[in-house]
């Protein structure tokens, strides 16, 4: 089975690039989206991250601004 054909095209940012993006933007101009479960979010998350667990994401997208750069993990 080959998987690439099923993946959504999306760019990746590594740790340093992520940090730079966050420091280059004021908090209201960027969305940091945590799609893990609430307990994982509670244990640790990137400062400023919004929590929308993956199972809820398709129903709650309207809470996010599509115009802002969005970092997802």
């Amino acid at each position: 089975m080959k998987w690439m054909q099923f993946l959504t095209p999306v760019q990746s940012k590594d740790y340093n690039e992520t940090r730079k993006m966050i420091s280059d933007h004021s908090p209201e101009d960027i969305t940091i989206l945590d799609v893990r479960q609430p307990s994982e979010y509670q244990a640790s998350h990137i400062p400023g991250a919004v929590l929308i667990p993956l199972p809820q994401l398709s129903d709650r997208m309207s809470e996010l601004d599509p115009g802002k750069p969005t970092l997802v993990y």
Binding site: M1, K2, F6, T8, P9, P38, P69
Partner: protein
């Protein structure tokens, strides 16, 4: 999931929170292409969906082989079994729509010829996510990321389907994947 819904600047944080915490987990960048096009007939779509479910089934069985603990092994086997049920549902839908009677074997043979072109192997996929297979939460995270890909795929395809019958089938399968994702999320909360 976001990139198909008007979000123009979406970035995956490589390695997720693990990278942020300074642990090693950085995979290569993912770039994929869409398998479906909007003009496909419902029958063609069902063949593609069936091949995706076959792929998921094989993937979970491969993961079961690699599992280091009994609990993780059983989890993968359970996930693999659920994908077989999805395949059953897709075949039933196909059989209802087909002009002439078609056996499961005939359908399997039709699907087999259209699947598996290009892309990432299971090992490469694992390298991308680099899960610790002895940790159940990592295994479930991986399964959730795959199920989310499937949900995303079905939603993107459903939105582009011109034929209402095709769209209804796609949305039905998308709803099942969403429920599956929710179950995995609940399972994660129990660990």
């Amino acid at each position: 999931m976001l990139s198909g819904k008007g979000f123009t600047q979406v970035y995956n944080v490589s390695g997720g929170i693990k990278a942020w915490e300074g642990k090693t987990a950085v995979g290569p960048q993912t770039l994929g292409m869409d398998l479906f096009d909007g003009s496909k007939s419902p029958q063609d779509f069902l063949k593609v969906a069936y091949s995706l479910e076959q792929g998921l089934h094989r993937f979970y069985l491969d993961m079961a082989d690699k599992a280091r603990t009994r609990a993780v092994l059983e989890l993968f086997e359970k996930l693999a079994a659920i994908e077989v049920k999805h395949q059953d549902a897709i075949f039933d839908a196909y059989a209802r729509m087909a002009d002439a009677a078609v056996s499961r074997e005939q359908f399997d043979a039709m699907v087999e010829t259209s699947a598996g072109e290009g892309g990432l192997t299971t090992d490469q996929y694992l390298e991308l996510f680099d899960p610790d297979l002895s940790v159940e939460t990592e295994v479930i995270s991986l399964a959730m990321s795959i199920e989310a890909q499937a949900l995303d795929l079905y939603q993107r395809v459903g939105a582009r389907m011109k034929n209402a019958d095709s769209a209804a089938i796609v949305h039905g399968i998308a709803d099942e994947e969403k429920q599956h994702l929710e179950r995995l999320g609940k399972l994660m909360d129990t660990l």
